[in-house]
């Protein structure tokens, strides 16, 4: 089976709320694809539809070219962690994995293998209800890996993990992709994906905002902005405004100018005789690029601090 997820024209409405609005994207083998968007953007809904848990109102979602409900051994095609809390609290963790293994004809041996893989061997006989959120995330990841699937989907996998757990997940995601699997990881925080994702699918209000690589996104967000450091900040800002640029204060002696090139900025400062000690093209952070993209797509936004409602 091909290691791909293909989402085409997906639509989903819950009552009057439009959750997905003509969403299309691909997840390819050998990459970690970050699936980002503000809370309520439709990330979990998309994953639920891919797994056949919810029915789409329109469009298709295929894994390895097939609709998920038609797979005979789905756990051997797609591994998913949608909701780490979705375990019966009275059942032992090992038994949770055992019923899943049985459901797809997988051997009992495989249960012990994935328990070792996620580091839960010493607590595998404990009831799942006694697990911390971090341990449940590991149990959910063990369940996803049970069938050794070529496609993996993780919904907010680092939620509730300690720093050691977070770096473990990042390493795991990368190694799964290096083995040639297609890995889709959702997060509402871009910073969580900064070190692990190669490709990004950004959505907001159920629509695709960007389908791009990390480097392309950074280049776009950096474009047309210049960082300036000068002791005469106020005078410099007036100069840029007159020339048609917009300047935003970063620090006591630093501004970021948009709408003017670096050459133009340094030319203006030289002509006015203003001293400066840095004029460089702006290097946006991934978080900044993401904020720019999703600013209009945040569903529940607080008014900026200090502004009247």
């Amino acid at each position: 089976m091909e290691a791909t997820i293909e989402v085409r024209g997906l639509r989903k409405q819950y009552g009057t709320t439009v959750a997905l609005d003509d969403l299309s994207f691909d997840v390819d083998a050998g990459h970690v694809t970050g699936f980002v968007g503000p809370n309520g953007a439709g990330k979990s809904t998309t994953m639920r539809i891919v797994l056949g848990l919810d029915a789409a109102d329109g469009g298709t979602a295929l894994v390895g070219g097939q609709p998920y409900p038609q797979l005979r051994t789905p756990l051997c095609h797609v591994g998913a962690l949608l909701d780490a809390a979705a375990v019966h609290p009275s059942r032992r963790a090992r038994d949770h994995l055992l019923w899943m293994a049985r459901s797809n004809g997988l051997p009992r041996r495989r249960v012990d293998e994935v328990i070792d893989l996620v580091g839960l061997s010493s607590v595998a006989r404990r009831r799942a209800g006694t697990y911390s959120l971090g341990m449940r995330q590991r149990l959910g990841i063990a369940a996803a890996l049970l069938g050794d699937p070529p496609v993996l989907m993780f919904d907010e996998p680092v939620n509730g993990l300690d720093p050691e757990g977070i770096s473990w997940i990042r390493g795991l995601l990368r190694s799964l992709a290096e083995e040639g699997r297609a890995v889709l990881v959702s997060s509402h925080l871009m910073s969580e994906l900064e070190d692990s994702a190669d490709h990004l699918v950004v959505i907001g209000r159920g629509r695709l905002i960007a389908d791009t690589t990390v480097s392309e996104l950074l280049a776009t967000a950096s474009k047309g902005r210049v960082d300036v450091r000068t002791m005469q900040r106020a005078a410099a800002m007036a100069l840029f405004a007159n020339a048609g640029g917009t300047a935003a204060v970063n620090d006591r002696d630093a501004v970021t100018v948009s709408g003017l090139t670096a050459e133009h900025v340094s030319g203006l400062l030289d002509a006015a005789g203003l001293p400066y000690f840095e004029v460089t093209p702006h290097r946006a952070s991934l978080e900044e690029a993401y904020m720019d993209l999703t600013r209009d797509a945040v569903e529940f936004a607080a008014p900026p601090v200090g502004e009247p409602r």
């Binding site: 797994l51 919810d54 029915a55 756990l75 979705a86 019966h88 059942r91 019923w99 459901s103």
Partner: protein, 262 residues
């Protein structure tokens, strides 16, 4: 289907609540049966030969209590999935939803049939031990209860089947309602409210109709071994009524499970 069965069986046997509910069915059935036997003495009759007590039916009274845990077991098999959100991994592992429901029906019913058989045999043994002490002796025309007696065997097997059908009815209602408290309440009301209502109805014809239509009264007609021709509904026809309720609940449950979002 084999894999789905293995998965559902693993799920059922790895929950502590299953053990308690199965034990509860056995203990509840035998204990209430013994209590019912103890409460009836041949001395209360005008004469020992005019008692007309159906001792088999009396000994099997315990299902009135034993079925409560069966209802909870049947309902929980489905609502437990929604309560714990386990329904997501369940349907991700077995996307064909009707297969999931059938597998649950098989493993839950099998467990209940075993528990019911133990409870019913226990009740018959309790009857053999306790009945003679209350005057129900061979001398008074009451041979000891025995499963080699045709009507008694039919009553015993029928009672076990009754419990199995109650489990299926509960599973079906659980699949429709998805909430444990609501589903348990719905099934118990359906079972107990009809006999209670029939008790308030004085018109004998209406009374008989309620007995024929109530899933519990109709289903338990199978326990009668005396004056069977005077029952509002025949023993097997009565179980048929209960089976119709269970079938309808499962059919609606299957429809809801297949069409609604998980």
């Amino acid at each position: 289907m084999t894999w789905a069965l293995q998965a559902e069986w693993t799920k059922l046997r790895t929950l502590p609540s299953t053990v308690w509910l199965v034990l509860g069915t056995v203990v509840g059935t035998v204990a209430l049966g013994a209590a019912a036997i103890a409460a009836v003495d041949i001395a209360q009759c005008p004469s020992p030969t005019e008692c007309f007590e159906d001792t088999t039916k009396l000994s099997l009274t315990g299902v009135w209590l034993g079925q409560v845990t069966v209802v909870v077991l049947g309902v929980l098999a489905m609502t437990g999935e929604y309560g714990t959100r386990m329904i997501k991994p369940t349907l991700a592992a077995v996307p064909e939803r009707r297969t999931v429901l059938v597998a649950k029906a098989v493993v839950v019913t099998a467990s209940v049939l075993v528990a019911g058989a133990v409870g019913v045999v226990g009740s018959i043994i309790a009857g053999r031990i306790l009945l003679p002490g209350n005057g129900f002796t061979v001398a008074n025309g009451y041979p000891p209860l025995s499963l080699t007696d045709g009507p008694t065997l039919r009553a015993a097997v029928g009672t076990v089947v009754y419990l199995g059908l109650v489990a299926l009815l509960s599973l079906g209602v659980g699949a429709v309602v998805r909430d444990t408290a609501s589903a348990v309440t719905a099934v118990l009301s359906l079972l107990y409210l009809v006999p209670l209502a029939a008790g308030l109805v004085t018109d004998p014809q209406w009374h008989d109709w309620l007995d024929r239509l109530g899933p519990m009264t109709a289903g338990l007609a199978v326990q009668a071994t005396e004056r069977v021709d005077q029952l509002p509904i025949g023993p097997w026809a009565g179980l048929g009524v209960l089976a119709a309720y269970a079938g309808a609940a499962l059919a609606v449950g299957a429809l809801v499970l297949s069409t609604r979002d998980a």
